[in-house]
C-alpha cells in the first residue's frame, strides 16, 4: 500500500501544480483587467490604478501566483471581486449544496446500476437483457439537459408529484429537501448509472464464463451463490474504477443540472463568477474541482488495490 502511494502521489501532485499554473495563467491572459471592469467605464486612470493596487494586480506575475498559492494553502481565499462576501464562504455554501446533490446522485447510481446488472445477468432471458441494453443506450445517448427537462415535464408539470426546482435545507425540513433533491439527483445519476450497469453486466458475464464458475457449478454450488460469492467479487474492481471516473462526471454534470433545477450549488456560483468576471471565485473554484477530481482518482486506485490484492505490489 505504501509503495503504491509513493508511486501515485508524485504524479498526482505534478498534475495539481500544472493545473494551478494553467488556471492562474488562463485568467491573466484575458484581455482587459478586472480593475477596469470594476471601476466602470467613466473611472479615471488614477481610480483604476488604485483598485489595481488594492487587488494586488500591480505585482509581478510570479509574486501574484505565490501569493495566491499561499492563500489557497492557508484556506483564507480573501474577498470576491464582484459577487460580494468572502470567497471561502461562497465556496463553502455552494460546496454543501453540490455535495448533497452529488452524494444523492452517487447513491442512486449504485442503487440503479447494481440490481440492473445482477438482474440482467441472472434472468438469462435474451429479450430482457436486450431491453436493458436499449435502455442504457438511451440513457447514455440523451444529453442531461434533455433528460432534466423531460423529467420536469413528466413529474412536475404532468403528474404534479414533485417540485420543478428549488432547494430546502436537509436539517430544517428533511421531507421537503428530499422532494427537491429527487429530480435533479435522478437526472444527474441516469447516464452514470447506465455506464456502471453496462460495465458490471459485461464483467459479470465474463466472470460467469470462467473455469472456476464451471468448477463451482460442477460441485453443486447454487447459481445464486455463484453469482454473489464468485462472479460479483471478480467483476467489482473494474466497476469501482468506472464509478470513480463517473464521480468526476457527476461534479461536472452538476453544473448544468443545478441550472435546470435552480439548485444553489457550485454550478450556479461558477456561472455567476464567469459572467461577472469575478476572477478569485473562478480561479479558486476551477482549482477546487481539479483537486477533487485528482483526489477521487487517487482514492479509486487505492480502493481498487484493496478490492484486488494483486494490484498492491505492482
Amino acid at each position: 500500500m505504501r509503495t503504491f502511494l509513493f508511486k501515485r502521489l508524485p504524479s498526482a501532485l505534478a498534475v495539481l501544480v500544472a493545473a494551478s499554473f494553467t488556471v492562474f495563467l488562463m485568467l491573466r491572459l484575458i484581455p482587459g483587467d478586472p480593475a477596469t471592469t470594476l471601476a466602470g467605464p467613466d473611472a479615471s486612470p488614477a481610480t483604476v490604478a488604485a483598485i489595481r493596487a488594492r487587488l494586488g494586480l500591480d505585482a509581478p506575475l510570479a509574486e501574484q501566483y505565490l501569493h495566491w498559492l499561499g492563500q489557497v494553502l492557508s484556506g483564507d481565499l480573501g474577498p470576491s471581486y464582484a459577487i460580494g462576501g468572502q470567497v471561502s464562504e461562497l465556496i463553502g455554501d455552494g460546496l454543501a449544496a453540490t455535495f448533497q446533490l452529488t452524494v444523492a446522485a452517487l447513491l442512486l447510481v449504485v442503487l440503479l446500476a447494481v440490481p440492473t446488472a445482477l438482474y440482467a445477468v441472472s434472468a438469462r432471458r435474451r429479450g430482457l437483457a436486450g431491453v436493458l441494453r436499449a435502455l442504457t443506450t438511451g440513457a447514455l445517448a440523451v444529453p442531461p439537459f434533455v433528460t432534466g427537462v423531460v423529467l420536469v415535464l413528466v413529474f412536475a408539470v404532468g403528474l404534479g408529484l414533485l417540485p420543478a426546482g428549488g432547494h430546502a435545507s436537509l436539517f430544517d425540513a428533511p421531507d421537503l429537501a428530499v422532494q427537491y433533491l429527487a429530480l435533479p439527483a435522478l437526472c444527474l445519476a441516469l447516464p452514470s448509472a447506465a455506464i456502471l450497469a453496462r460495465y458490471l453486466q459485461d464483467g459479470l458475464e465474463r466472470a460467469l464464463g470462467e473455469d472456476y464458475v464451471r468448477t463451482a457449478t460442477a460441485l453443486g454450488v447454487s447459481r445464486r451463490r455463484i453469482l454473489w460469492r464468485h462472479a460479483l467479487p471478480n467483476a467489482l474492481p473494474p466497476a469501482v474504477t468506472v464509478l470513480g471516473l463517473q464521480i468526476g462526471q457527476l461534479i461536472a454534470g452538476a453544473v448544468v443540472v443545478e441550472r435546470i433545477f435552480a439548485w444553489p450549488g457550485l454550478g450556479q456560483l461558477i456561472e455567476q463568477g464567469v459572467s461577472r468576471r469575478d476572477y478569485p471565485v473562478v480561479q479558486d473554484l476551477l482549482l477546487l474541482v481539479v483537486v477533487g477530481y485528482v483526489a477521487v482518482q487517487l482514492l479509486t486506485d487505492l480502493l481498487y488495490s484493496w478490492l484486488d490484492p494483486r494490484v498492491r505490489w505492482e
Binding site: 440523451v142 427537462v149 415535464l153 408539470v157 462526471q249 461536472a252 454534470g253 453544473v255 459572467s275
Partner: protein, 284 residues
C-alpha cells in the same frame, strides 16, 4: 486461379468494407435515417418555412396555427423556423469543431510518434486536458473569450483532442513496430515519411468511430453551454438555447420544449447508433 486469389483480395479490401457492412445493419440504417432527416430539415430550412427565425411578431406564445405550424415563442418568433435554423447552427458548429479537434489530436499523436521525449510530453498534455472535466474546460475558455459561436467551437474541439489523439497514438505505436514499417525504414525512408505515408494510413481507421461519438458529444456541449448562458449569442437559435429558453414556460406551453427536445434527441440518438454500428462493423 480465381479460387486462390479471391480470399486474398477479400482480405485486403476488408477494412473499409467492414465499416460499410456496419452501416448496413438496422443500427446503421436507423442512425443514417435519423441524422439524415434532421440534417436535411436544417439544410432545407429556407424552403420549408418563410418565417425569419429572429423576427419578433405580435403574437407571443401563440398555439400552433397555419401561419406558425408549431406556434411562437415568448417574444413572438416562429418556433418551426427557429428549430430548423437551430439545426443549421448546431450542424455548422459540430462540423467545424470535430474535424478541427480530430486534426489537432492527430497532429499531436504523430508528433508523439517521432521520439520518446515527444511522446511523454504529448501524453501529459492529453492528461492535463482530460483532468479538467469537459464543462469546466468550457467555463475556463468562456471566462477568457466571453460567450459566442467561436468559443463553443474551440471548446468542443479542445475537449475532443485527447480522445482522437490517444486513439491514434495507440494505433501509431502498434503500426510502427510492424514489419512493413521497419522494412520501409531499412529501405532508407525517413522517419517522417514512414510515419506519414505508411503508418498513418493504417492507424487512422478507428478515428471514424470516434468521429461519430464526437459529433453527438458536440451537441451535448453546445446545449450545456447554452443552458449556462455561455453559448452562441442570442438571438441566433441553437438546439440548446431553444430548450433552455423553454424551461420557464414548461407548464403553460410544453410544445416549446417538446419540439426542440424531439429534434435534439433524434440527432444525438442517430449519432450514437451510427457510432455503435461502425464500431460493431469494425470488430467484424
Amino acid at each position: 486461379m480465381t479460387t486462390i486469389s479471391s480470399p486474398l483480395l477479400l482480405k485486403a479490401a476488408r477494412p473499409r468494407n467492414r465499416y460499410v457492412a456496419g452501416l448496413l445493419t438496422w443500427r446503421g440504417v436507423s442512425g443514417l435515417v435519423l441524422v439524415g432527416t434532421v440534417a436535411l430539415a436544417g439544410l432545407l430550412a429556407p424552403w420549408l418555412t418563410d418565417a425569419d427565425p429572429n423576427a419578433q411578431g405580435p403574437q407571443a406564445l401563440a398555439t400552433p396555427s397555419g401561419a406558425h405550424p408549431l406556434g411562437t415563442d415568448d417574444i413572438g418568433r416562429d418556433l418551426l423556423s427557429r428549430i430548423l435554423h437551430g439545426i443549421l447552427t448546431d450542424l455548422s458548429i459540430i462540423l467545424t469543431a470535430v474535424p478541427a479537434g480530430a486534426l489537432a489530436g492527430a497532429a499531436l499523436a504523430l508528433l508523439a510518434g517521432t521520439s520518446r521525449a515527444a511522446d511523454l510530453v504529448v501524453q501529459r498534455l492529453f492528461d492535463l486536458v482530460l483532468s479538467f472535466p469537459g464543462l469546466i474546460l468550457g467555463l475556463a475558455v468562456t471566462a477568457i473569450l466571453g460567450p459566442g459561436r467561436w468559443p463553443v467551437v474551440i471548446i468542443i474541439a479542445l475537449a475532443e483532442v485527447p480522445y482522437f489523439g490517444r486513439q491514434l497514438r495507440a494505433g501509431v505505436l502498434v503500426q510502427q513496430e510492424r514489419e512493413y514499417a521497419l522494412a520501409a525504414r531499412v529501405g532508407g525512408a525517413s522517419r517522417a515519411r514512414v510515419l506519414l505515408r505508411h503508418v498513418l494510413p493504417n492507424a487512422v481507421d478507428p478515428l471514424i468511430v470516434q468521429g461519430a461519438v464526437a459529433l453527438s458529444v458536440g451537441v451535448f456541449i453546445e446545449g450545456a453551454l447554452s443552458f449556462l448562458g455561455l453559448g452562441v449569442r442570442p438571438p441566433e437559435p441553437t438546439l440548446g438555447s431553444l430548450i433552455s429558453g423553454s424551461v420557464a414556460y414548461l407548464d403553460t406551453n410544453p410544445v416549446l420544449a417538446a419540439a426542440p427536445l424531439a429534434v435534439t434527441t433524434a440527432l444525438v440518438l442517430g449519432f450514437t447508433l451510427l457510432a455503435e454500428a461502425l464500431n460493431r462493423g469494425a470488430r467484424g
